[in-house]
């Protein structure tokens, strides 16, 4: 059974599960072509906490919490919970920050890019091309010896910090807790933030995905990276099955609409759909995982991945406060500038953080 998880059948099963349940989450209430979006959902969580005040995107998404719990349970069940920290955390925070900014310029993480494409949103094709390009730049740096250094085993309590934070967020969501009049926890009254599946369903599906993704090491960035770096399609089978299952499910649910215009929570600016995801792809590559993978690793006790996740949440707060995030009409006023800054920062990291060539 153990070899099943690391076999192609294992990762294809994970992809099929996500590809069926993500469109279903949309059917059950999540926003358009956003059954799962790690970036958007972390942004919604940032909004719920008041880190930004974009009123239409404030909601504590239980899917994210489910990802952590599912991965945690899988890790413990198979004795893979390994609390570890120490691999340049401040760099990972900054990478998460810029990854989120890039994703919010495109309006999606790689998972959402695949879901959007599987729903006929052709703008996502630009995003996926950008993602591949960004990962490709990361691969160049990897070949040049890029490394953030090793992490070290640490106390069990350290590995539990992000899971406990997620437990607290779930409690706040379930209780719909308000700390002050008109204050956090914010729940959108309109817009994507008010579109959500019942929390029990969101949580359950999230946990299922977290479990499967932890077992199979599902990673949308790694899928492209391994094809380019070592010509290994193993992770890619996972995203192919994900996209294929999502396409079929969308067709069956009447959620398929082919074209560029009028797509839900999307814009048609080809340049910045591409550009935003170049930044996101490069940042994910330099950090060693797509945003989903970082969450699953956090559930395994990886404190460096947890810092990346927190960097993404903080980045989302900044993105909406500083006009970096896109809307359906196109990039925000400072979005493109932020992408360029982010690319420069990531390139700087790639060039300066290299091991000695022996």
């Amino acid at each position: 059974m153990k070899r099943f998880w690391s076999s192609p059948w294992g990762i294809v099963s994970a992809g099929l599960f996500v590809g069926v349940f993500a469109p279903l989450l949309q059917k059950w209430g999540n926003p358009g072509n956003m059954g799962i979006c790690v970036a958007c959902f972390e942004r919604d969580i940032a909004g719920a906490l008041g880190l930004h005040r974009a009123a239409v995107v404030q909601y504590l998404r239980p899917e994210i919490m489910g990802f952590v719990f599912g991965a945690l349970i899988a890790a413990y069940a198979f004795k893979e919970f390994k609390p570890r920290v120490g691999s340049a955390p401040i760099v990972r925070f900054v990478l998460g920050f810029f990854a989120m900014i890039g994703a919010l310029v495109f309006l999606g993480c790689p998972w959402r890019a695949l879901l959007r494409l599987a729903a006929g949103d052709l703008n996502a094709a630009l995003g996926l091309l950008g993602l591949a390009a960004g990962i490709g730049i990361g691969v160049v740096f990897m070949r040049m010896g890029y490394s953030l250094g090793r992490s070290y085993r640490t106390y069990t309590a350290v590995g539990w910090i992000l899971p406990v934070i997620m437990i607290l967020l779930l409690v706040l969501r379930v209780l719909e807790f308000s700390f002050t009049e008109g204050g956090p926890i914010f729940f959108s009254a309109e817009g994507p933030g008010v579109m959500y599946a019942p929390w029990v369903i969101s949580l359950a599906v999230g946990m299922g995905i977290g479990f499967l993704a932890q077992r199979t090491r599902f990673c949308t960035m790694g899928a492209f990276r391994d094809l380019m770096l070592i010509r290994d399609p193993h992770l890619f089978w996972g995203i192919l099955s994900f996209a294929g299952a999502a396409l079929v499910t969308n067709l069956l649910l009447g959620q398929f609409n082919l074209g560029f215009e009028g797509q839900p929570v999307a814009h048609t600016n080809h340049l910045w759909n591409f550009g935003g995801m170049v930044l996101a792809g490069l940042a994910f590559a330099l950090a060693g995982g797509c945003p989903g993978r970082q969450i699953f690793m956090s559930g395994e006790g990886d404190g460096d991945a947890a810092i990346f996740v927190i960097g993404m949440i903080v980045g989302a707060g900044f993105a909406h406060n500083f006009g970096l995030a896109s809307s359906t009409t196109g990039p925000g006023p400072w979005g493109p500038a932020a992408v360029i800054v982010g690319l420069a920062v990531c390139v700087l990291f790639g060039l300066t953080m290299r091991q000695r060539m022996d």
Binding site: S6, F78, E80, K82, R84, G86, S87, M142, R143, S147, L148, G149, R150, S151, Y152, R153, R217, G222, R225, D226, L229, I230, D232, H234, G288, G289, D304
Partner: protein, 72 residues
């Protein structure tokens, strides 16, 4: 005794794979390299990567870590 020792403990993907592949590329037929990793993920990734390079792989569990012995 292996010709080479690669310590990839604590390194996140794709580094263990990159380091292992680089070491295997330098090997002559019959040579061997030993890769140290400390996660199941790295162990499986390294095994899959070098099995594609026509090497034999033997894995020893040493406490929490794994010794991946690769022979060309």
């Amino acid at each position: 005794m292996s010709d080479q020792l690669v310590d990839a403990r604590g390194l996140s993907c794709p580094q263990p794979v990159i380091m292992s592949r680089d070491a295997v590329k330098k090997l002559e037929s019959g040579g061997s390299v030993e890769v140290l990793v400390d996660t199941v993920t790295s162990r499986d990734n390294v095994r899959r990567a070098v099995e594609n390079m026509e090497c034999t792989v033997e894995i020893q569990e040493v406490g929490d870590e794994f010794r991946v012995m690769i022979k060309k």
